[in-house]
Amino acid sequence: MIRMIGGEMPEYAEEHPPAGGVLLRHLLERLPTGIRVLVAGPHEPTLVDVLADRRDVTCLVRSQPDAAALPDVTVLCGTLSKLTDADRYDVVIALDGVGRLCSPEDTPLDWAESVRILARSLRPGGTLLLTVENELGVHRLVDTGAAASARTGDAWHALGDLNDVPGRPDRLAAALAAEGLPVSALAAAWPRPESPSLLVTPETLSHGPLDALAALAAAAVSPAYPGRPVLSDPRRLAATAVRRGIGAELAPAWLVVAQRAIRPGQAAVTLAPALFAGPSGTVTEVSGGSLPAGRVLEEWLLSAALGRDLPVLRRLLTGWMTELPMAGAGNVLVDGDRYALLDPAVPDQPDALARFAHTLLDGGYHHPWPGVTDVARLIAVLAGAAGIDTPPDTSGSDGPHGRREQEAQLSALRERLADAEERCRFFEIELEKREAELGRAKTQIAAFSGNLGYRAAKAGLVLARAARNRIRKGRS
């Protein structure tokens, strides 16, 4: 049932994907049953379906076409400020954030005002599940477009990063506490605010194991940019941020669980230290200390390549191809001589070595074989270094195409072209020298071909033949 509350958008359908994905579904499935839930903002219909199972669900959306596409629940269609506090809910879910709750009919509300309205519809002790996008998140840092210059149909009030959204997990918690919403759980989210596949609490991010977490962040970010250009490789940025201890600060978003609590009570949702959904859709909950130790193979390989550390590079390649030849380098943790899978649910990758060759070349990384610039030959070199005699076939490259990496490739190509042209001139000069030498040699050969005796005998033979012919002529 759809109820128009005012300020609805009859012609507009949301252009960007709604909040959704396996991981959010996993979280929402675990909410208590028999409660009243408000789902504010665009969420995937499957999420609403999951919630509607033994719960009383109301949705709030601004777009009328989107409202019509929602499952059979109560739908409030209109703008946020028309939401009254006549109805109170046990849980308010705003996993798309508060950015898509107001319509053009509304006075634009800032983040705090929006949160305040949502909080009002919570019953005392109720729980708010809120996603807050980080303006300095990895996804923004690699974005080729600026949020402040967005041209989409809902960018009528685009402030970009000049808004009042808290910019750090601790400030976010403080801001919510100031609104009477103490935070009971918080997690940094990758790869995109609306559809995270990795959630890690700041405590986990500060205690580690950072290498494994960095690898999870890189793996989460990797498939998030299909066919989309980026400024630089988000995998490296995400992984480096985590490894350097600013993972939570540079995460694309934070997911918070806050309570409108008179007194501390049981939170409706708890967040595991880390939670991730692998490519196969399996959700893995990681308790503290259950992540494997060790360094991610891909990063170790890259650092050995950059450092031209051939002995280490060969040892790693050989170990990898002996122990886990079907695992992508980003899914292998190396601890001494032990090679372990980071996420065993990731499907086999028979062309893992070839993919790493692509990573080296496409990423513009320095490596110990700078003269090898085509991927088939680099694969052969890597295979040889790994102790494999028959090099594997080439494969497609994976990962997003970064403008910075493209720029590096462009300048490398320019350099190679300039070298090739110069080499052509070099060879031409060499050729001229050789031709001159050959010319001199030919003259010498002509001058000395046949010695004096030979030439005298030849002349004698000619004279003798002439004399014989003359005699024969005389006889006839």
């Binding site: 031209r308 051939l310 002995p311 060969r314 110990p368 074989w369 700078p370 003269g371 090898v372 030959r377 052969a380 070199v381 295979a383 040889g384 270094a385 102790g387 494999i388 005699d389 090099p391 190679r416 300039a418 070298d419 090739a420 110069e422 080499r423 070099f426 060879f427 060499e430």
Partner: protein
């Protein structure tokens, strides 16, 4: 590519290591470093085709080459080390076959093989050979083998001077423009080195490095002599940089560590890897 790749049969050694016909090594996609040096791996005056790979012996040389605007330097290790891998020293006793004349058993080493600093096609060496020989005979306690480079070996006057002081050998001609290349040059040198306890020269040079790698104790002493139009600051730089390798009796362990690093020990490629690096992949 460059005919220098065939000097001393280097390309032939690598082809053999790669499982290819050592008699006719395929074209190498770049320049092989053919002697130890303190520049970019190329011999002085080698015409460099821009954008070509230089296959250098050590990581240190690669870094230096990079700083000299040769970013394509690639470390593969010295061909001599590849030879050492395929020709391990004969066991101490008993197991050697009758026909094996090349590798003496470990423990049969004796005396010093002494490499006087040499010239080449383009530069002659000048100095007082008499004085040098006197200093050598005064320093060395065991028998001395003088190994002359072909350049001096063919000079009967110089050869006679050394013949008066000891045994004189020559490892042969290194080859030039792919003519008269002796593909067994290094093999012969290795066998000769393995007969001696010490390797010495009046300059820190390739032969001393090979000798140490082959198990000799090094020494660098005596009048260093000079090449025509030589860049003497380079020679001085070498003495300053590697004092541990200079003198009549440097510490053998320290010397061995330095020498192996300069030859690229630990950096040798597998045969399959080397084939792909050199552009020999099938």
């Amino acid at each position: 590519m460059h005919h220098g790749n065939h000097f001393y049969g280097h390309a032939h050694v690598l082809a053999g290591y790669c499982g290819l016909d050592p008699a006719s090594p395929p074209r190498i996609d770049g320049y092989l470093q053919h002697g130890w040096n303190v520049v970019d791996g190329l011999g002085g005056g080698t015409p460099y085709a821009p954008g070509s790979t230089i296959f250098v012996w050590s990581e240190r040389t690669r870094r230096r080459a990079w700083s000299m605007n040769r970013p394509l330097a690639t470390v593969i290790g010295a061909p001599f080390l590849y030879l050492l891998r395929s020709e391990p020293p004969a066991p101490r006793a008993g197991l050697r076959s009758e026909s094996d004349h090349t590798s003496p058993r470990e423990g049969e080493r004796e005396g010093t093989i002494w490499y006087p600093f040499h010239g080449w096609e383009g530069q002659q060496v000048s100095g007082d050979h008499h004085r040098l020989i006197d200093e050598i005979t005064a320093t060395e306690s065991g028998p001395i083998t003088f190994c002359l480079y072909w350049n001096e070996f063919e000079d009967r006057r110089i050869r006679a001077l050394y013949e008066r002081a000891g045994r004189v050998v020559c490892h042969g001609y290194r080859g030039y423009m792919r003519m008269r290349t002796d593909p067994d040059f290094l093999r012969g040198q290795l066998a000769e080195l393995r007969r001696h306890r010490r390797v010495a020269s009046n300059r820190l040079s390739t032969a001393v490095f090979y000798g140490v790698a082959a198990g000799c104790e090094p020494a660098v002493y005596g009048d260093p002599m000079y090449l025509d139009k030589e860049d003497t600051p380079t020679a001085d730089r070498i003495r300053r940089e590697w004092p541990e390798l200079h003198g009549a009796a440097p510490d053998p362990e320290t010397a061995r560590k330095i020498v192996l690093a300069e030859l690229g020990d630990g950096h040798l490629a597998t045969p399959a890897e080397l084939r792909a690096i050199l552009g020999w992949a099938a």
